[in-house]
Amino acid sequence: MPNPGRPYLQGIRDVLPMLLGVLPFGLITGVTAVGVGVKPIDATVMSVLMYAGASQLSVLALLQDGAAVAVMVLTATLINLRHIMYSASLAPWLKPLRATTRAAMSAVMVDQVYAFSLLRYRRQPDLTPNQRRNYYLGVATPLIIGWPGSTAVGAFLGAQVPPSWQLDYAIPLVFLALLAPAVTDRPSLLAAVIGGTLAWALQGLPYNLGLVVAATAGIAAGALAETQVSKKAQA
């Protein structure tokens, strides 16, 4: 990649197939938002400000339940904690860039941008910092347009859908499809089973606090199980 314009186009090309998953997810997020009483324009603003599908959907589900604001903030933060990992693994590669550039890049750091960029940086360690930036922004561009755009379309369309379509059921369906690739081994399966079972059992707790307790217990169970597994492997 000698030409600095090339990494940008390469990034766009790499991420385009992902839009098949991103755009329907955005549509559903928009439809769901108006379903719980959020105005279409506010749903679009939400996608611009948060720019994080799973956590947006979790907030919408909690809005529907009338959960406490603190629980919404905690839940959205928990779901977004993975970005700290992304940030930590991208940091060394982006270090030479200006702070304002790095801040702008951070704002659009989503799963796909992280995954494609890190893969490209490792495969081509000779890329200059500017080429790394350009590739990153190339991957980000279609998503920056596609995510709020599909949310807006979904929200304006969703306003026309009658309640008899029961579109609220799409929320657990989306989360099921997001859960499947997250469960990769026994510890993560245990984390999911503990988290899910406790959340169901603790539904009676006020302000949806059961969700936070269950998620924390699930995370602890997964981490503990991993420690056990690695101890066994060493023994």
């Binding site: 098949l20 998953g21 329907p24 559903i28 009483g37 506010d42 939400m46 400000l49 956590s55 979790s58 907030v59 809005l63 604001v69 903030v73 779901i79 977004n80 904690l81 993975r82 990992m85 992304y86 940030s87 930590a88 940091a91 982006l94 270090k95 790095r102 801040a103 951070s106 704002a107 379509w165 029961q166 579109l167 059921y169 799409a170 657990p172 369906l173 989360f175 099921l176 499809a177 997001l178 859960l179 690739p181 510890p187 993560s188 984390a191 089973v193 988290g195 899910g196 406790l198 959340a199 169901w200 969700l211 269950a214 998620a215 924390t216 699930g218 995370i219 602890a220 981490a223 991993e226």
Partner: protein, 110 residues
């Protein structure tokens, strides 16, 4: 929804700021700070635990429409889990789940 519109927009701003802070954390402050192994390990299990905690009560929320005395959503849930697990695909899971819901609701005369 119990929030007024200004509160809702303030919530979105707050969540936007938090999300940005998480994303910018190491990229912006970085410098020789490495994530401790124990935190890294715990973070690995955040998606599975949190998503499962959100999905289970929502999936098992009764719709009130029953077939043979079983809520239709209880009939769909296990198959939807199977479809999601095998396909790992949002669109396929939604198309299956919603179609099943509409067909069973119609059959139940709902």
């Amino acid at each position: 929804m119990t929030l007024q519109r200004p509160e809702l927009l303030a919530l979105f701003v707050l969540l936007g700021v938090i999300t940005f802070a998480l994303r910018a954390s190491f990229v912006l402050l970085q410098d020789r700070v490495t994530l401790p192994a124990s935190i890294r390990r715990a973070l690995t299990y955040v998606p599975s635990a949190v998503i499962a905690a959100i999905v289970t009560p929502a999936l098992l929320e009764p719709s009130g429409v029953t077939l043979a005395n079983v809520d239709v959503r209880y009939l769909i849930a296990p198959v939807a889990i199977l479809v999601a697990w095998r396909s790992k695909n949002v669109v396929i899971t939604i198309v299956f789940g919603m179609t099943a819901l509409w067909i069973l609701t119609a059959l139940a005369g709902g």
